[in-house]
Symmetry: C2
């Protein structure tokens, strides 16, 4: 009887685990899909901006002098009726794309809050989503050493370095974080290593325990970055 009980318990556990990992996979995929949409929207906005810019430079260059901020120029074109209909419609499309990008950002924020709140707290929802998308799942991110997380997204530079025996890259995706690219060049490597180690911790806590310690990790990180920056200054 005990044997049977144990067996059913094991089966029940396996089913629960499968169900959890199935759910996790679903959420990971939602993150990947939303991030792809986000990236496409950014590209779409750039393309529309370029087309409007070409037109403005040729046909209404005074608008560029009037407003320094090109987003403001676009808003102006949309609100004025003196421009050709299609140019106004392009301006409207740009503003709609921006709205849509905000909606995707919100969605990524919500998904990261549910799935990987610690990672989101440490490096932000978008970059966190980018790391998860890069490796395919939170489970995989949680299994990676900090040194690998540090250079995720810099695979080309890594293989080039290995081939030509040059210096390996110091950062990949995480370079996009202001703490890294906003720091003096000589301490960027250190900051990238620090950030990657905290992301590794955050990903593991997210995957294995679900506790939220993101704020503490972030605080600790901020103090260390400040110390490094003042030392470098």
């Amino acid at each position: 009887m005990d044997e049977y009980r144990n067996f059913t318990l094991t089966v029940a556990e396996r089913i629960t685990q499968d169900r959890i990992s199935e759910l996790a996979k679903r959420k990971d995929l939602d993150i990947v899909m939303a991030l792809q949409s986000y990236d496409e929207l950014v590209k779409i906005m750039n393309v529309i901006q370029d087309r409007i810019l070409v037109w403005v430079k040729e046909r209404a260059p005074s608008l560029l002098e009037e407003k320094k901020d090109f987003e403001k120029v676009i808003e102006l074109i949309y609100s004025q009726s003196s421009e050709p209909d299609y140019v106004r419609k392009m301006a409207e499309l740009y503003l709609k794309s921006r709205e849509c990008r905000s909606a995707v950002e919100k969605q990524i924020g919500d998904l990261m809050e549910e799935t990987a709140p610690n990672v989101a707290a440490v490096i932000g929802p978008i970059l966190g989503a980018r790391l998860i998308s890069k490796v395919g799942s939170l489970a995989r991110l949680a299994s990676l050493p900090a040194s690998t997380i540090q250079i995720l997204g810099a695979e080309k530079a890594l293989f080039r370095a290995l081939r030509k025996k040059g210096k390996p890259p110091k950062h990949g995706i995480i370079f996009q974080h202001p703490w890294v690219h906003g720091s003096p060049r000589k301490i960027r490597g250190k900051i990238a290593r620090l950030l990657a180690s905290k992301i590794a911790v955050a990903a593991r806590v997210d995957h294995f325990s679900g506790r939220f310690i993101g704020e503490e990790i972030k605080k600790e990180l901020e103090d260390k970055v400040k110390a490094l920056r003042s030392g470098a200054g």
Copy 2:
């Protein structure tokens, strides 16, 4: 006195000509800019469609069985509130892009009507605009032999043929016209040559006289295409 008169007349003529060619250049540039916007919009629509399709396949595959036409699926997603907010916003963005593409199409139609009505009548406003964009101006298009017009846009294939001594391409941009790609392979070359010769005539009439003989050219062309097709059938 006669000499002076002649001189002022010549100067006046030159000014008028410069002014006309300046205006023509302005319109040519408007055509080029509008066509670039058109092409970008088509790409944008494809990108948004792909992103929505990925999402639908994963999360709402039943929609695909329900509606065969993917544009209808997008309209459905937009009108339903059960999907995530960002997916609905992507659907809205698709519909807005389609509206915008119609506005650009109309603009290209209007510009071609003013600048190159004969070319527009023979091959359609979009393909006509594409030919003008390719060579940079109506003036340049009007100066090209039909054999060059026939393979405009197939430069890669042409140079490959010259390098490897293969067969030269039979058509470039004009391949996109249904009379060419919709005809049996063995008469496509003939139809392309015919079409190119009529475009050459149309471009010259547009550039040098401005008379409208587009309908006659088109009628003649249609008859010949029908004869060729029935001969080939």
